[in-house]
């Protein structure tokens, strides 16, 4: 794949997008029901927010989608693939990427290398050509570097690309983690609290990136976020979780008016 032939590199090697159908997912740890009978559908190209109080099962839901948790019952369909049955490392090949709530970057690697890991699943060269770093293997690295630079430009992190990730400020680390997920060139992006612990300006930046990714690249986004202002502004659809149950789904306007949601999470104000 010659990425350089594409004006917009994300057109080159992105897997096809499908709606994500979560059907009656049930997950428990011992006696604790983390998720009970959760169902919702995320349409292609949507920004879909999952909200709810702490411990409601939002992150558990994402972990189920990306194969880190195995629900006891239910299906999560992406196209014809049941994600409940596929191992986590298979997800980037389907075009699903995620970021983590607590930053889980490769802290001893540079920003560039972290982002290059996003390209991992797109790289084909075997270990023997890697040991030689000759011809094709080198060209492959350079080709994917081009994609990574495209992501770096989008997220405006040019000045830190050679720095070790562990030494960066928190807000930048969050941005690098978004970049790493984006480097996979996903058709579905799962973001777990991308704005947690940020100030208003940094939040605006991230919101802008999320909108750019959604509109320019056409990536479907599932977002967990506690800042209701941001959630209501940017999302197309919202699902509300409370004690592992999905108590409401709908547009921001619908959810805002739902009495169950107001009681469980939003409060009167």
């Amino acid at each position: 794949m010659q990425l350089s032939r594409f004006a917009r590199p994300y057109e080159a090697d992105r897997p096809p997008a499908y709606p994500l159908q979560v059907e009656n997912v049930f997950l428990s740890f011992g006696g604790v029901n983390a998720l009970s009978d959760v169902s919702f559908t995320v349409g292609v190209g949507e920004i879909f927010a999952i909200i709810g109080p702490n411990g409601a099962g939002k992150t558990s839901m994402l972990n189920c989608i990306c194969g880190l948790y195995r629900p006891q019952r239910g299906r999560i369909l992406y196209g014809s693939t049941n994600l409940v049955k596929s191992p986590p490392f298979h997800l980037p090949r389907l075009g699903i990427a995620r970021s983590f709530q607590n930053i889980e970057l490769f802290s001893h690697m540079s920003v560039l290398d972290n982002l290059m890991l996003g390209r991992h699943v797109h790289m084909r060269k075997n270990v023997f050509s890697a040991l030689l770093y000759w011809g094709a293997a080198q060209r492959e690295e350079i080709d994917h570097r081009r994609f990574v630079e495209y992501v770096i430009d989008l997220l405006e992190i040019q000045n830190i690309r050679k720095q070790t990730v562990g030494a960066l400020a928190y807000g930048l680390q969050k941005r690098v983690e978004l970049g790493r997920a984006l480097a996979i060139n996903p058709s579905l992006l799962l973001l777990d609290e991308p704005m947690a612990g940020m100030n208003a300006e940094e939040k605006e930046d991230i919101a802008r990136y999320v909108l750019d990714i959604n509109e320019e690249w056409g990536v479907t986004i599932i977002l967990i976020e506690h800042d209701m202002g941001v959630v209501m502004d940017i999302s197309d659809q919202i699902a509300v979780l409370d004690f592992g149950r999905c108590i409401a789904t709908g547009t921001p306007a619908e959810v805002k008016e739902n009495p169950d949601v107001v009681r469980a999470y939003l409060g009167k104000g």
């Binding site: 880190l68 191992p87 986590p88 490392f89 995620r98 290059m116 890991l117 270990v127 690295e141």
Partner: protein, 364 residues
């Protein structure tokens, strides 16, 4: 030279940006190192060359271990066992199959890689100290097999021996260049293998495979979500690491007239861990610096002792009885000091020195 003072390095292509040694100074340094390595045998006598050859073998082994432990984060206490498998695979294939030395070393590398993958299987479930204990089991099993299984000691016709005798190996078939007799012949062979290993390992960590190894070390769950199959890449790390350690083991065997289990005990495993910790975990250069340090340390102590005791026979004898304890003590002290003052090892120390001179006379 004003043009060599760096106010910044600027690249116009990704290719030049992704070079390992982009600046002229860095290239000059590596040329200097190569010239020095090639000049060594013309400066040193055969006694000193024996020590240098020890360094070369240790450096190859340390690079192998560093790929597994330093880069991939899989702690291994089985280095001695891996070396033993390499050495005995090489020795036994020479004795029983009549393999020429070069074929037996390559054979040893493949056998050790297969053995390493076998030992690596538990690594999918076991992490950190638990994996270390699993590799310790491998160490003990290999040692037990060597001691107790007679054919391995070359006891072909009912003789019982403690050591496996290695047939003479001739470089380019020249009887002058016997590997286990001619320090100089072996040095050039060892140096060539070391150079190949350094190049291959450096290249590996410029590509997605090497990055996947480091990702597993830093954050294995995130690595999985990025599409890295833990099982596959951990096994690959074990295979590549043991392949290189197998080369070192094979070289050890061909460099000796006989091999026995004493050279592959748990102490050897710990010594190699010390090399990569003192040299610098997760660096190729650090593996070499660490190997130099750990191999030279006891020799330097010996020389120092000689200088202090002079020619008086009594004090020489007293010193010689003290030497093993002194060596062990200093060895331990070196590890502790390295961990306290520069946990990132000699490699980091060297980088600090370079940075200091690069920015001189400014401090920032």
């Amino acid at each position: 030279m004003a043009s060599e003072m760096q106010c910044g390095v600027f690249h116009e292509t990704y290719k030049s940006d992704m070079q390992v040694r982009p600046t002229t100074m860095q290239r000059a340094r590596i040329v200097l190192a190569i010239v020095f390595a090639l000049a060594l045998p013309f400066i040193l006598g055969s006694v000193e060359m024996r020590i240098v050859n020890g360094v070369v073998i240790a450096a190859i082994g340390a690079i192998g271990l560093n790929i597994l432990t330093g880069y991939t984060g899989q702690i291994s206490l089985g280095q001695g066992a891996f070396l033993a498998v390499g050495a005995y695979a090489s020795g036994l294939s020479s004795v029983y199959f009549g393999f020429p030395w070069w074929l037996s070393i390559i054979f040893a590398a493949f056998v050790t890689a297969a053995f390493g993958m076998l030992i690596g299987i538990p690594s999918l479930r076991l992490k950190g100290l638990y994996l270390a204990v699993a590799t310790l089991a491998a160490q003990q099993i290999v040692q037990w097999v060597i001691i107790n299984w007679d054919p391995i000691d070359g006891a072909i016709d009912g003789r019982t021996t403690d050591a496996l005798n290695i047939p003479n190996a001739l470089l380019f078939g020249n009887p002058e260049w016997r590997l286990n007799n001619n320090e100089y012949a072996f040095y050039f062979l060892g140096l060539a293998v070391l150079a190949l290993v350094v190049i291959a390992a450096t290249n590996l960590f410029r590509t997605h495979i090497g990055r996947a190894f480091v990702a597993i070390r830093d954050q294995d769950i995130a690595a999985q979500v990025m599409g890295v199959s833990l099982f596959r890449y951990k096994l690959l790390a074990f295979a590549l690491s043991s392949f290189i350690v197998g080369l070192a083991g094979g070289l050890m065997a061909q460099y000796s007239t006989a091999i026995s289990f004493e050279r592959f005990t748990i102490e050897v495993s710990i010594e190699y861990l010390a090399m990569i910790i003192i040299g610098g975990l997760g660096t190729i250069g650090g593996s070499i610096y660490g190997a130099i340090f750990i191999v030279l340390l006891p020799e330097l102590l010996r020389l120092l002792g000689r200088a202090i005791t002079g020619t008086d026979t009594d004090s020489i004898r007293a010193f010689n009885s003290l030497l093993p304890f002194l060596q062990q003590g200093v060895f331990g002290l070196a590890i502790v000091l390295a961990l306290i003052f520069e946990p990132e090892g000699i490699q980091k120390l060297w980088r600090n020195i370079k940075d200091y001179f690069r920015l001189f006379p400014f401090r920032y």
